[in-house]
Amino acid sequence: MKRFGRFRTSVASIALLWGMTSAAMAVDLEFYFPVAVGGKAADTIKELTDEYAAANPGVNIDAVYAGSYGDTVTKALTASRGGKPPQLSVILSVDMFTLIDEEVIMPFDDLVETDEDKAWLQSFYPAFMENSQTGGKTYGIPFQRSTPVLYWNKEAFAEAGLDPDTPPSTWEETIEMGKKLVKKDGDGNVTRWGVRIPSSGFPYWLFQGLTTQNDVILANSDGNQTNFADPKVAEALQYLVDLSTKHEVMAPGIIEWGATPKAFFEGQTAMMWTSTGNLTNVRNNAPFDFGVGLLPGNVRRGAPTGGGNFYIFSDSSDEQKKAAFDFVKWISQPAQSAKWTIATGYVAPRPDTWETAEMKAYTDDFAPALVARDQLEFAVAELSTYQNQRVTAVFNDALAAAITGSKSVEDALAEAQKQADAILKEYR
């Protein structure tokens, strides 16, 4: 009896000990990720987290698919307000100010210890870091990032008597070539437009391509001042409106994002502006030879960046923060980053990824993938401010009003600036 009793105690103490050590050793991380493009993205994330967990037995990563970008930020903020934030999440780079304002994320600088860590923070393309830093601190690490590019239909170019290998490089050329590319049927109805710049939902993103090309920046890096009423912004918006109304090279009204690749495949438009995230889609579905190029320039070349960053949430234990930091460092290494880019089409966020053997093989086979990287040199931060969703909504409404002709370009922009000022007043 006595022996049995001792046996029981020892089992209990071993169990207790084991419980304690595993608690001390294993770090649990919850990681929210969105999927904005179809198919493989979620599988690749799982693969990568499994690979990391296998190499680091002390860390358990629970990768949670959280829906669209919008759903993910909503979930992360709701969970934080409820006191159970994830340790790590991929969220739109433009939501940085919102997350800072809600006091839920922490700068990566606080977790940097070695010189190697410092060098790692410097290893990304500066165009992507513009949306990841404010007040001298880094809050986001670029991960699933993109930029809009120009796609053109080479067959349509040849048919219109244009050189199929030369896309327009300026605003003027877009109009000239566009006029040649427009095709009408016997009734005088347009069957093919010259160019298509989608404007539904979030017109500000592609419009930011135009403003950058006109050499004007929409918001300051502190995120508390917008520049919507600048005459150069008005000029860019007037150009966009004129493409439909004056030059008649683009369909009138609001143009749907979702239907844009399809319209391109159907030959309804000879050129389209859309995200690099569509590269694989176009490659698989375009029934004609197509080209991918930089967006045309005006005063200069230009494009916004877009997509999601890694954020570390501040309401976690020190071990969790360290493990989260280590994971982000690992997943952004060239080997992992190349795998991710090839699977999804997102732009690899650091130069050395492009030097890996896998990426070289991929770009040799499919050169258009390089266009996005080459455009980064001209790219600027995506419009982002405090109360970002509200400010961009105000701006989107103004753009939609001007595009549909319900307000003049100047009035729409002046009103948007006034409303943005009212919203951002408390952050100055």
């Binding site: 909503t74 006091e103 109805n189 399809k262 909504a393 319900s406």
Partner: protein
């Protein structure tokens, strides 16, 4: 003693329903009204009492008035037509004509589909250039492409059509059930008396259908505030809020802009509107509704 026990039983039977009603309806409603007088908490700055500031902002908010106007036209556009169509379809499939089973299925099918799926189908119908509507227009009449969703003048009407298509079949089911419960002797008696079909419809059928009409129209009113799923898929309220409705604006304010205090204020407006409309309908119809 007996009396007391019955009283306990009564409350026990009521308690599950009451519990849910209080947790998910009454408590949130009261909490919303309280929140509407507070500012939005952000980070470590808690919500503070600001009196009627949110309500003052509401009055000056152009977007609020725009979505309210949109909602008014959306209700005016959807309720009478969907209820009227539902009645017509019910009379049609209740008749002894051939093919009624097929039409019943056809009329009811939109109700079974989730609104998100419906919206995606209609998005294709409306797509300029190669959408179904444009293929008809250019194929049959040689008309130019039309951008119904990209034009602030037509977008709300396009949304109304989707809502009617979705709802009419659902309401038809209620009318059909009501029609089938009407005893056939009434029709026979009317025939014997030499009443015309129209007279029978006006003087016998409609009054007997009144309870259903009340039920259906209250539902239609609620749905005209509640049905916003298709807006997420088709327009996101655009262009320039031309297709945004009150509930969609509440969603945007609360979960996109994170202005939870102001969103509570908007919700209070919606609560008041819905209560007034529902109570008003009861009073309006009360004298005309005959329950058997």
């Amino acid at each position: 003693m007996m009396h007391r026990r019955e009283w306990i039983y009564g409350w026990l039977f009521l308690s599950p329903a009451l519990l849910f009603l209080f947790t998910f309806t009454h408590y949130p409603a009261v909490k919303t009204i309280v929140s509407s007088f507070f500012s939005t908490p952000r980070g470590k700055r808690p919500a503070k009492f600001i009196g009627i500031e949110n309500y003052q902002a509401l009055i000056q908010d152009e977007v609020f008035w725009k979505v309210l106007t949109n909602n008014f036209w959306f209700a005016v556009g959807t309720i009478p037509i969907s209820v009227g169509l539902a009645l017509l379809m019910a009379l049609w499939v209740n008749s002894k004509l051939k093919g009624t089973t097929l039409s019943r299925i056809a009329f009811f099918a939109p109700t079974v589909l989730p609104l998100i799926a419906v919206a995606n189908i209609w998005l294709f119908f409306y797509t300029p250039g190669f959408g179904l509507i444009d293929q008809f227009r250019s194929g049959l009449f040689g008309l130019p492409a039309i951008n119904l969703l990209g034009n602030p003048d037509t977008v709300l009407a396009a949304m109304i059509v989707v809502a009617i298509w979705k709802e009419a079949g659902f309401f038809m089911i209620f009318y059909l059930a009501a029609l089938q419960s009407i005893p056939p002797v009434l029709k026979e008696a009317a025939d014997v008396e030499g009443a015309s079909n129209f007279y029978y419809l006006r003087k016998i059928l409609f009054p007997l259908l009144m309870p259903t009409t009340l039920f259906v129209s209250i539902n239609a009113v609620i749905n005209s505030f509640r049905l916003v799923d298709h807006i997420f898929v088709m327009t996101e309220g655009g262009p320039d809020n031309a297709s945004s409705l009150l509930l969609y604006y509440i969603y945007e304010t609360a979960f996109k802009y994170w202005q939870t205090g102001y969103a509570a204020t908007l919700t209070v407006v919606m609560l008041i509107l819905l209560s007034v409309l529902a109570i008003g309908q009861f009073f309006l119809f009360d004298r005309k509704v005959h329950y058997q």
